[in-house]
Symmetry: C2
Subunit: 412 residues, 2 copies
């Protein structure tokens, strides 16, 4: 077997690109540096100490007192699948609150689990009214209600206050995918009363993709432990199997993951140590800034981006009342080639803005300002660059108005 | 919600501990530094360029020309589950070559998939003779034969030459879990003739846990693409669904992962960029050293460790003819408290050695020398420290003989 000449591929040296799409975004430099720390054995007391710190650090980020607050080793999507496959058994009825691509993803994952799927829907660009959710719960009697918080495909944020009460009235469990909002918009797992919330690092938490923070209520944990099934190679007298149906995945079996993160320290996967260091640093940065200040910073960025785009004569996509603060959809103006503008933004300015999915593909751009990139100068630079690119494409717009409006709106 | 005082948990600052267990081990400093590189958008041309480089770099490491050679975003266990859930449908008959804890793990994962499981077994400390595997294939007619290469629970390495031919004779697919050997012992996917091999970074490749290299033969890829099912939110006219049964997991659906890594660039998860940088650097280091030199270095380390332990009067566990080079099992001598020695090794010398699982728990230690730790001085220091700890526990042994024997064996 001939090896390729290793000199073919040189030192890692990515361009310094400003990532103003719907995520991933540039990580905070402190997070990148934290990943350079030396590794530890997975049951080393210092390692388990760091794991316990991560549990404590993520509770305020999720707005919860849940004991079971930890990491799933994989991207945000891994956290979603872990939550769903651990809660839902084949044949269980699940209601999905569906208002974009990530509502479709929940259905996709649930379909593979063998769930009976019901939906309550809103058109892309809107959210689902809470009374419609209430009626759908009444109508369908689900075992689980699953909902996305912020769906980046449509830039809409679903209000969630009251969801948990509706679910608990009928005994349903509840799940929220907060991948795109955690660290940028308030997550209030306990006040919402929802049972499991999952996230990712690569958006508002300002870290790399590859670790999925998760929080699990005690009642969801009871439900999951009732499905516990310990591997033959590591069975112990002090950990018995549950009576419920075995969880369909080993890697995503949250009973085993909880046993691994508990004082039982049951061996499961080998914790992704560098990603745990990253997750820990993301949380330290967020709590150091203060959650309220951080949410206000994201709100200012979203306000400035929206005001700037509008002052440039562009039309912002979706319902103003339910906009995510950290990503803004904007219609590609008639006669403008959206992909050519994205390429020009990247090649002339080293700025990435996002394309779109499904019915919005080719119709809108998605421009993010999240985590370490939810900063005034990055919003202003992006708007200025977009103006220059649109002019070059022949789109007439009032010179300098976008940046000026954004500066004003940031401080509003 | 009261946030914990972020100053409670300070800067990441793990102790500089020498990890001489069965993995994870200390990462090569170049790998840790590579993870500090800035992030890129997931469809950025520089990012997809790095993905293509990773594909090229891992082919010689797997000993393959397979086009489909890439990463699964998760720990080594994620790679195993991705391979199995993508190849096996409920009701499929699978033969597991079982000689340790990780053979039990394959059965555990397959059981959750709904496979009909057959096994061909060896006692812990031995491997399964190829003619026993041949007879078991004849007897059971499996759709897939699944086998661990090096099972760290027993420190045994299963010979695999000829396995592929046996499988292809009956039309069976084949899978090998090379988590514990990749980068340290030769992986010869093409010569073995096996269809899927998976690994991890955290052992002989000298990186952190959290990324699982995988290689997939064209015939296995055809089998998997026949189960392709594209998510509703991102369907495209140029990518049709397959006729086979849908894969039971979305995250581990290798059809979608291959479409993501191909020129189709179908959106799936957000690639774990920092872990990809780590995987790329692990491969560059290995190919720069040269695979043969690297395997020889691991063999020297294993030879030295074994010789040193024996010279100390200890008994090495398992069949000499099939020993992994990178991890050595050694019986805890009578009257010695194994856990107290491990604690003393850690507290007095900052060296970690491993405990054991299942029937070997409390009976053997597992001492590794892999990746960046398969070095002469680290083997010698470990043996010297172990001697000191055993003396302190009252175990009589010939002073200085272990280190001397290891020095001699390294160069043999």
């Amino acid at each position: 077997m001939t090896a390729p000449d290793p000199s073919l591929f040189g030192e890692i040296d990515p361009p310094q690109r400003l990532l103003m799409g719907p995520g991933p975004v540039n990580a905070h430099p402190r997070v990148l540096r934290a990943m350079s720390a030396d590794l530890l054995g997975q049951f080393d007391p210092e390692m388990t100490g760091y794991m316990n710190q991560v549990m404590a650090l993520y509770r305020p980020i999720f707005g919860t007192q849940n004991r079971w607050t930890m990491l799933v080793d994989g991207t945000a999507r891994a956290g979603i699948e872990a939550a769903l496959v651990s809660m839902v058994a084949p044949g269980d009825r699940v209601l999905v609150v569906n208002f974009g691509r990530f509502g479709l993803l929940l259905q996709e994952i649930l379909g593979r689990i063998g769930a009976v799927i019901e939906t309550v829907d809103a058109p892309w660009g809107e959210v689902v009214p809470m009374d419609a959710i209430a009626a759908a719960i009444e109508r369908t009697g689900p075992k689980l209600v699953a909902c996305v918080h912020g769906d980046t495909s449509t830039t809409m944020a679903q209000p969630l206050d009251g969801l948990g009460a509706l679910c608990r009235k009928t005994g349903a469990l509840s799940y929220v995918d907060a991948t795109a909002t955690i660290g940028g918009m308030e997550i209030a797992a306990d006040r919402w009363g929802v049972d499991i919330v999952t996230g990712g690092l690569q958006k508002c938490l300002g870290g790399p993709s590859g670790s999925a923070p998760i929080t699990i209520s005690d009642r969801a944990a009871d439900h999951i432990f009732n499905r516990r099934h310990v591997e033959a190679g590591i069975r112990r007298d002090d950990i018995g199997d549950g009576a419920g149906p075995r969880i369909g995945s080993n890697y995503f079996d949250l009973a085993m993951v909880m046993d691994y993160w508990s004082e039982k320290r049951l061996n499961h996967h080998t914790e992704a140590t560098s990603m745990l260091y990253a997750a820990r640093e993301c949380a330290r940065i967020m709590l150091g800034e203060g959650p309220e200040a951080r949410y206000a910073r994201h709100a200012a960025a979203g306000r400035a981006m929206t005001a700037g785009l509008r002052a440039m004569g562009l039309t912002v996509f979706g319902d103003d009342a339910h906009r995510m603060t950290n990503v803004t959809g904007v219609f590609i103006p008639g006669g403008v080639d959206g992909e050519r503008v994205r390429t020009m933004m990247r090649e002339a300015f080293e700025i990435e803005i996002g394309t779109a999915f499904g019915p919005l593909q080719g119709r809108i751009w998605r421009i993010g300002a999240m985590g370490y990139n939810a900063m005034k100068h990055k919003v202003l630079i992006t708007l200025g660059a977009l103006e220059a690119c649109l002019r070059r494409e022949g789109f007439a717009l009032p010179a300098g108005e976008g940046v000026a409006a954004a500066m004003e709106a940031w401080d509003a």
